[in-house]
């Protein structure tokens, strides 16, 4: 059983999705999906434990040896990612039943759970596999199902947002496919480890450069790195609340994982960072992302949109950590993947709770909610403080590592800009806090009461995680540090 964990990671939600059709009652489907997601979480926890105990786990699909067969390969990096994705999926799913009752017509509930599990399958598959073409297949499974999930939003603009995402996402996926095709042409293999071994021989060819450019651009589209972020704000804003929480906490993380995997494991850090000016490019785009995203967030009136733009800024932080290409920098980026999932998961779920009670997340509707929904608002406050990077929250930990990495390299101006960027976060978070706590509530919302437990439990679990992992950083820092060390070590270029 334990030996088959890697395939179970994908198979469980994949089988779970069609089974949903057989279950008729909405509540039953929800419970089933929750159990499936929970099982995935257990599998990923066991996998991570296995990886930490005995090193990289390799699983050959159908008994075919790599590089002919498909190989699943789990090291510390994707073991960590699997845990984040399955944990967030389960927590978000907990509130799903309550939330979609208000936001999605009853006859589509089963569809919702099917799509949700398929999307989860896709993301877990992308992360777990060690085969480049397999990445594309799973990426499409997760993307197609998430387009449909976004289109379920009750606002008609959700259709347009999903369409936008569909077009841009497909372009991104096609780019990745072209890149993989070119690599296959040059090396005759699709297995990542094999690619890594064979690419250096042909590294100086135009074809490999082109392949690299296609893959990276495609991934950046999926990642919503500035200026390829245009699909993200609308998709997050008009999707059903549960979908937003799920995607915000997982989807961009998967794309970021691919970025790291392809640059460090497949092409190799020395190729990506010394042959090409990737460092300067990503540093600049990351900084621009932070400022454009944060400033745009300040001017939004829809709170979901505020945090959607904030996600673009947060992706900027991750990309900067990545571009430093030192152990500390990569650790900061990986930590921020985890931490950002915790913050945005809590925030978007809390917004889901507000949506559930009020039916809108326009900022003026938040008036007086500090008194009417104290627990939900306190959650937004704490998660917001974490987003700003207050000490004793997770946001502080990743900020500390990111700044340390920058100062180690002597990049003072970037460090200063990042800190100024976090002040912009303060502005948009406090805008919400002031309205919620200082304005009397609207007369139309006078009967609003605290969100139901189905929301409060996952929200507060995430909020507590925001504080817990901000104080006890052993697990997250250890895993992130070990993962980034092994990534750089593989290239024989460990820098302190």
């Amino acid at each position: 059983m334990l030996a088959h964990l890697p395939i179970l990671q994908v198979i469980v939600p994949l089988i779970g999705a069609p089974v949903c059709v057989l279950l008729s009652r909405a509540r039953l489907v929800w419970l089933f999906a929750l159990i499936v997601s929970g099982l995935s979480f257990i599998v990923s926890a066991l996998l991570l434990q296995q990886v930490l105990m005995s090193g990289t786990v390799i699983y050959e699909l159908g008994g075919w040896d790599a590089p002919w067969g498909i190989e699943y390969r789990i090291d510390k990096l994707n073991g960590f990612l699997l845990l984040i994705i399955s944990a967030m999926s389960t927590l978000v799913l907990f509130a799903a039943q309550t939330s979609i009752n208000k936001e999605i017509p009853a006859e589509k509930h089963t569809h919702f759970y099917i799509l949700y599990l398929l999307s989860l399958t896709g993301m877990l598959g992308v992360v777990v596999t060690g085969d480049a073409f397999n990445v594309f297949v799973f990426l499409e499974i997760s993307s197609l199902s998430s387009y449909a999930l976004i289109a379920l939003g009750k606002d008609r603009r959700a259709l347009w947002a999903a369409y936008q995402y569909l077009i841009l996402g497909t372009i991104g996926a096609t780019f990745i496919l072209i890149g993989i095709g070119l690599m296959y042409q040059m090396t005759g293999t699709l297995n990542m480890a094999d690619l890594a071994a064979r690419l250096p021989e042909v590294a100086q060819t135009k074809t490999v450069f082109t392949a690299f450019a296609f893959v990276i651009t495609g991934i950046c589209l999926k990642l919503a790195l500035f200026p390829l972020h245009l699909w993200l704000p609308n998709a997050y804003t008009y999707a059903p609340s549960i979908v937003t929480a799920f995607l915000a906490a997982t989807a961009t993380k998967v794309a970021f994982y691919l970025l790291i995997r392809f640059t460090y494991s497949v092409f190799g850090g020395s190729f990506s960072f010394t042959t090409l000016p990737l460092q300067f490019l990503f540093m600049t785009l990351g900084l621009l992302g932070i400022f454009v995203g944060s400033i745009a967030a300040i001017y939004q009136t829809n709170v979901k949109q505020i945090f959607a733009y904030s996600s673009i800024a947060q992706i900027g932080y991750m990309v900067i950590g990545f571009s430093i290409s030192s152990v500390t920098g990569l650790t900061a980026a990986l930590l921020h993947i985890f931490n950002h999932a915790l913050m945005k998961g809590a925030l978007f779920l809390a917004l889901g709770a507000v949506m559930y009670r009020i039916g809108s997340v326009q900022i003026n509707q938040f008036q007086g909610l500090g008194q009417q929904m104290p627990l939900t608002m306190a959650a937004i406050l704490v998660a917001g403080l974490s987003l700003i990077g207050m000490p004793l929250t997770v946001g502080f930990v990743s900020k500390w590592y990111l700044l340390s990495a920058l100062i180690e390299k002597g990049w003072w101006p970037v460090a200063l800009l990042i800190l100024i960027g976090s002040l912009l976060t303060l502005v948009y978070v406090w805008k919400i806090v002031e309205i919620a706590y200082f304005k009397p509530s609207l007369s139309t919302n006078s009967t609003v009461i605290e969100a139901p437990l189905a929301f409060l439990i996952p929200i507060w679990l995430l909020v507590i995680a925001n504080i817990y992992f901000g104080v006890d950083t052993r697990l997250s820092v250890e895993v992130a540090h070990a993962a980034s060390e092994s990534l750089l070590q593989a290239q024989g270029q460990v820098r302190p």
Binding site: L385, I388, G389, M390, P391, L392, V397, K399, W400, L403, S404, I407, E408, A415, L416, L419, I420, S422, L423, L426, W430, E434, F438, V471, D472, T473, V477
Partner: protein, 497 residues
């Protein structure tokens, strides 16, 4: 009780934080609620005094809580400056609570339970600042202090209070996030430790330019020390109820700022390094300018609380100057000034609040002739003003003496002139208030003569709880002149390992 000193240290921090629970629970019974507040205050003061005795007997008290990230620990220890600050805060907390009882009820403030809760949290975090064993711990409690005082500043919830709260939070968090945090990370990467160490943590061969830059980041980053141009949060914070202005914005919060500056100068840089850094002189002039400009602005303020706020900014500059001139007299003067100024300024704020609740007057120009109505308050105001100015027989004269001595020793004659001139300006903006109260007639008196002569002449003092608090702090100002020895001893032992 046979509690160990380590436990007592932790009680000082945790008890005020936990006190919010009984305070919130007894919210519907004001008497009980305030009894809880005062009780907690007494227990904390008892613990601090015990710790003081412990440290005078040469005991080493260290507490380790948690290692947040590798090498970055939350831990506490006792050293003379910390105990001085803790003694000051815990003593004045009790006095302020007594004062609040009179003030808040008389002024019919809303949400008093919330007020007492956050007040108590703020005190807990101040204790954390006072006992922090390293910069990292200090930073955490420094940030918590900002956050916990925000609800107190914007207490009334009006548009004005909200705006002031925004300035307060914005400036304090900006400086600490952008400069202070950066300075701490640099120190960590350069020196490899953040522990407060007598003589400093930097290697003597450290790059002077880098260390000088870090010092600039520290001095501006500790926004609570209110160095211009990052001082505007302090006048903004004056919208808060008077007890908040008195304890937090004349004592706890601002003193946490200069306390941190003093600690950074003495225990992170060390006086020897400080004296040779290229940026020290530049910073001294900036602070000197702050002292001077703030005094000038104070003279032009008609609102009494605003005048006192600018006076505080200028007096905080004294402490920072004392720390930066890097002589032992300067440090002693700084440490003593933290205490002396605290007693003087809290009395002045208490008086301002007493005048406000009794007569609804908040502008200096309306206070002519008030001495007949509130002679006790005005007498207290006079004595506290003397202490701020620094003339005998008040405690303020000692700290000013040492500060001046420090400037002479280090041959900073420009700063000496600034300090002297600023003292003259103190006279100009403080003393006319009690003089006019006693010796000139009420301006409104002539106008209102026909209608309402009685109200201006009638003896009507502030509520008794308010007067008791004012009395205690005023007497303390005088006693500190006669018995400065314990404070001097503590201040002197800061530099001893």
């Amino acid at each position: 009780m046979s509690l160990s000193l380590e436990v007592m240290l932790q009680m000082c921090i945790v008890l005020p934080l936990l006190a919010t629970i009984p305070i919130a629970l007894t919210g519907h019974k004001p008497n009980l609620r305030e009894a809880v507040s005062i009780g907690m205050g007494l227990v904390v003061l008892y613990c601090v005094i015990k710790l003081y005795h412990g440290i005078s007997q040469g005991e080493n008290i260290n507490v380790f809580w948690w290692e947040l990230m590798p090498g970055l620990k939350i831990s506490f220890s006792i050293e003379p400056l910390g105990i001085l600050f803790a003694l000051l805060t815990s003593f004045l907390w009790i006095i302020t609570t007594i004062y609040s009882i009179g003030y808040m009820r008389c002024h019919h403030e809303k949400n008093q339970t919330r007020f007492y809760s956050y007040f108590s949290v703020a005190i807990g975090t101040v204790m954390g600042v006072a006992f922090a064993a390293n910069l990292f711990t200090l930073f955490i409690f420094y940030e918590l202090l900002t956050l916990s005082t925000y609800p107190l500043v914007s207490h009334s919830g009006t548009e004005n209070a909200k705006k002031a709260g925004r300035i307060y939070l914005g400036l304090l968090l900006s400086t600490s996030i952008v400069f202070f945090l950066l300075a701490i990370i640099c120190t960590w990467l350069v020196a490899g430790t953040l522990d407060f160490t007598v003589g400093g943590v930097f290697d003597p061969s450290v790059n002077k330019l880098l260390a000088g830059g870090v010092l600039v980041l520290f001095i501006f980053g500790i926004g609570k020390a209110a160095i211009m141009p990052f001082h505007l949060w302090l006048p903004a914070a004056m919208v808060a109820p008077t007890p908040v202005s008195a304890l937090l914005h004349a004592v706890a919060v601002v003193k946490a700022g200069v306390f941190a500056v003093l600690k950074v100068c003495v225990l992170i840089f060390g006086l020897d390094l400080l004296a040779i850094l290229p940026s020290t002189q530049f910073l001294l002039y900036i602070v000197g300018l702050t002292v001077f400009i703030a005094s000038i602005i104070a003279m032009r303020q008609d609102n009494l609380k605003a005048r006192l706020a600018y006076s505080t900014i200028s007096q905080l500059g004294y402490v920072t100057i004392g720390a930066l001139i890097a002589t032992s007299s300067g440090v002693i003067g700084s440490a003593m000034h933290i205490v002396m100024h605290a007693f003087g300024k809290i009395t002045l704020f208490f008086c301002a609040g007493a005048i406000l609740v009794t007569t609804q007057k908040s502008n200096v120009s309306e206070m002519h002739g008030l001495g007949k109505q509130m002679p006790l308050t005005m007498a207290a105001f006079f004595i506290a003003s003397l202490s701020i100015i620094g003339v005998p027989p008040t405690g303020g004269s000692w700290s000013k003496w040492y500060l001046l001595l420090g400037t002479v020793e280090s041959e900073q004659f420009i700063l000496m002139i600034v300090l002297l001139f600023s003292s003259l300006m103190n006279i100009a903006y403080l003393l006319p208030i009690p003089f006019n109260a006693f010796f000139s007639h009420s301006l409104s008196h002539q106008q209102l003569d026909s209608r309402n002569t009685l109200s201006t002449f009638q003896f009507k003092e502030a509520p008794p709880a308010v007067l008791i608090a004012i009395g205690i702090t005023t007497v303390s100002c005088l006693l500190l002149f006669i018995y400065p020895q314990p404070i001097f001893d503590l201040a002197r032992s800061i530099l001893e390992p």
